[in-house]
Symmetry: C2
Subunit: 165 residues, 2 copies
């Protein structure tokens, strides 16, 4: 017999070409990794069609997992401005989609995400991935990087929801 | 007796705090300025609520004017990265809204917008506003700047649609 998890969080690492996602349930002291992966759009498609495809895929995740909340990383300055602007556009479309779905949205700084995964705000990607592998007893760290980032941000969301409860 | 204009273009200059809009009808040789202005969001509101408010206001414009197409300026690099990221987020949410409404979207580079208004790709804001004032026989240039930019990008859209016809 399975009992419906009381808390379920969808973590997202937004991008136009690839958005990482991860679903966690349970509590911050006993997190369960339900699924992780990426939704992708074709770089040859027209720009606005990519945003539509991306948000339709996010909507499917929202419908399938009915999360208690969605966790997103806050925007931050980047050395690659072109990429940052594309991420921001995808993030805007995703944020609107989540709000229209009526799901609470929690936003975290990159430092908060790293602390949730490793206890260290200056941890690098490799350290985060190594901790996620240990935490969820995985054979390999979650791949690709976008999916691993989504797991880390979902952890932040789970911590926030565990505190609220 | 008024006849329904065959071509009607909505030009937008996206921003999170303020998005300029302008509706033009007619043809590029005889453009008519139907309306221009700004939709605004409160900086004290929660971020994702601002995106919802912004896109609801854009949807009202789409419903009211039923444009043949929507014209948007392409994203470009900016010295103020924080502002650029906010504009990109607003632009992503707006692009999704327009696509969901089923309205054709036309995108133009800043150079194309300046050329449509002044014939000169390196024109500054003041030159663009002066030409818009002359073109539409206005007492003053369209204000604020976001509304003037929206008129200029709508002109680009009108030129594109006049060519397609």
């Amino acid at each position: 017999m399975t009992t419906k998890p009381k808390v379920c969080i969808l973590g997202l690492d937004p991008g136009l070409g690839r958005t990482g996602y991860a679903v966690l349930s349970g509590s911050i002291s006993s997190p369960q990794l339900i699924i992780f992966g990426c939704v992708e759009t074709n770089s040859k498609s027209i720009h606005h069609e990519r945003l539509v495809k991306l948000t339709e895929d996010i909507k499917k995740l929202l419908i399938k997992y009915q999360p208690t909340g969605v966790a997103l990383e806050r925007l931050y300055f980047s050395t690659n401005v072109k990429t940052a602007l594309q991420v921001a556009e995808a993030r805007g479309a995703i944020t609107l989609t989540i709000s229209q779905f009526g799901c609470p949205l929690y936003e975290f700084s990159p430092q908060e995400v790293k602390i949730a995964a490793t206890g260290e705000g200056r941890a690098d990607k490799k350290q985060v991935q190594k901790m996620l592998k240990l935490m969820f007893k995985l054979k390999e760290p979650p791949k690709p990087d976008d999916a691993a980032d989504a797991v880390a941000v979902a952890l932040c969301g789970l911590a926030r929801l565990s505190t609220i409860k």
